[in-house]
Amino acid sequence: MENDIISPENLVYQKPTLMNDVPMHYCPGCSHGVVHKLVAEVIEEMGMEDKTVGVCPVGCAVFAYRYLDIDWQEAAHGRAPAVATGIKRLWPDRLVFTYQGDGDLACIGACETIHALNRGENIVIIFINNAIYGMTGGQMAPTTLMGQKTSTCPYGRVPELHGYPLKMTEIAATLEGTCYVTRQSVETVAAIRGAKKAIRKAFEASMEGKGSSLVEIVSTCNSGWKMSPKKANDWMQENMFKFYPKGDLKDTIK
């Protein structure tokens, strides 16, 4: 019988135990689910289930607290790095991270993001950059590419009307308080492995008191971009990676 192979000794992969058994609200093809899983796996592998506090953003990941079986605080729009600062300063042996989108982090929360990173708070910021406001229905983000169409730049982003896309990760790399700044993605198995390694490295650095880390995940928003998941991945590889090149921008962890 073919079902004979489904037995504990043949187990090679399973859902992380920290992932709750609830349906996700994310659109099919969205990168959030993969990144949530990676965060859950890393917390589990580090044995930090009982000592982790996550901070949710306002945006598509506003309900991240439903999906990972850890303590969470839901921050006001953009304020997650300040909330994380308050938690980490008073619980220094806890693993404290924020999980934020591009609108939350690079627009309304740019001030909190830059200053938390520059103070060298021992926190990790997971930054999902899909170049659009997903939750509110596809408006222009600070990271929307030139020429990209959204519901608030329906004829394409042009500098005289909309200014330029913001490279927050490049800014973060210039700050004295950061120890590890990297840009990853999760559209292929190799990319997922790389992103997981980066998250693990950042989480460990924060627990070793080495300073702030920013892990950007260049992501798709196939609903907001009005593309199939496959086409969204192709579009991201062709357009996003040119402007947001992958790789480590800063690494002082030795």
Binding site: D50, C56, A82, G86
Partner: protein, 361 residues
């Protein structure tokens, strides 16, 4: 150090010193006149080397209140301080704290407004403080100190009330009380709570999910309106309990009085002198001083007004608390208002004059 040692200090310094003694875990703030002595004194006293209290100068008032949100949501005694324009910026965070039932403390050493206004004292944030101040149906517990001693005493009280009800509490002071020096007896030293104490006293807090419980989540978000209405009804019940239980006030010379001055904070101190002058002139006046501005001493003011010829509400604003006094008394007795604006503090003789012209004729 003896508990009864009397020292001379500014109201702002009393807040800072009291916080260290009251087992406060963290302060997060941003400089603004006339309250900068709070963060300056805390920075000078280095409590992180003694009690372990953390002091962080934040990048803004917006960040400060959100740091308090994070720390208090994780079960720690955390507070921030600012003055009027800065407290306006904090309203978002205070509303979120009320919604998520997070027990932090905010000190407002008020200055004149609107806008950037002036750095001189004012009480013009009364509406903002007592009506919630941010979006949504909520209330903040508001304590109004009228002396440097009360600045010191209300720190511990504000934290106790905040944690008792899982609600933000505010010390609504002003530039007079913050800047003036008076003798004060500081509270005795109290240790900060240990990790085990926090876990047992505040099992709702986010200090990391232990295996014996479900995750704790601090959030004000709920998309289902039926559930959100229930949550609001629960909050309103809590506010009613606070109204029934936590009203604080003080009266002076009301028993034989024909007239009563209702006044809070520094205006009440000036009114005390005015009452002395009025009595010397043969006018029998008493003082009713609300200490909690929310919950407001509605019933107590109503009781005190019985048989009186009139009430004069004295406040350093354009007439804000007078609304609450009128709502309390509901037309039973004439209620008039006197105040000065824009950072001008009224003189006692002006108050006596107002009493004569508005009520005695």
């Amino acid at each position: 150090m003896a508990k009864t040692e009397v020292t001379l200090m500014k109201g702002n310094d009393a807040i800072a010193n009291a916080a260290i003694r009251c087992g406060v875990d963290g302060f997060f703030g941003y400089p603004i006149t006339p309250q900068s002595e709070i963060i300056e004194t805390l920075s000078l006293l280095k409590p992180w080397e003694t009690s372990g209290m953390v002091v962080v100068q934040a990048e803004s008032e917006v960040a400060s209140i959100n740091m308090v949100y994070g720390a208090a949501g994780a079960g720690k005694r955390a507070f921030t301080s600012s003055s009027s324009p800065g407290v306006a910026l904090m309203q978002e965070g205070i509303s979120y704290m009320a919604g998520a039932e997070i027990p932090g403390v905010v000190v407002n050493v008020q200055r004149g407004g609107p806008g950037l206004g002036t750095i001189q004292p004012s009480q013009s944030d009364y509406y903002q403080a007592t009506r919630g101040g941010g979006n949504g149906d909520y209330n903040v517990i508001v304590l109004a100190p009228a002396s440097v001693q009360e600045m010191a005493d209300f720190v511990d009280l504000a934290f106790d009330l905040a944690f008792k009800y899982r609600n933000p509490a505010m010390i609504l002071s002003d530039g007079v009380i913050g800047q003036m020096m008076e003798k004060v007896v500081l509270p005795p030293f109290k240790a900060r709570l240990t990790e085990d104490e926090i876990k047992s006293k505040y099992p709702w807090a986010t200090f990391g999910r232990t295996k014996d419980r479900e995750p704790n989540i601090m959030t004000s978000l709920e998309l289902k309106p039926e559930v959100m209405e229930e949550r609001n009804i629960k909050l309103q019940k809590k506010y009613q309990t606070i109204k029934d239980t936590e009203v604080r006030y003080e009266t002076q010379k009301c028993d034989d009085a024909d007239y009563v001055i209702v006044s809070f904070g520094s205006a009440a101190r000036i009114s005390e002198k005015a009452i002395e002058m009025a009595r010397e002139a043969g006018i029998k006046v008493g003082l009713f001083r609300p200490i909690t501005l929310w919950p407001f001493p509605t019933k107590q003011i109503c009781d005190i007004a019985k048989g009186k010829k009139g009430i004069l509400v004295v406040e350093i604003n354009a007439g804000q608390m007078v609304d609450d006094v009128r709502l309390s008394i509901n037309g039973a007795v004439p209620v008039e208002y006197f105040g000065r604006l824009g950072g001008i503090v009224p003189e006692p003789d002006e108050i006596v004059e107002a009493l004569k012209s508005k009520l005695i004729k």
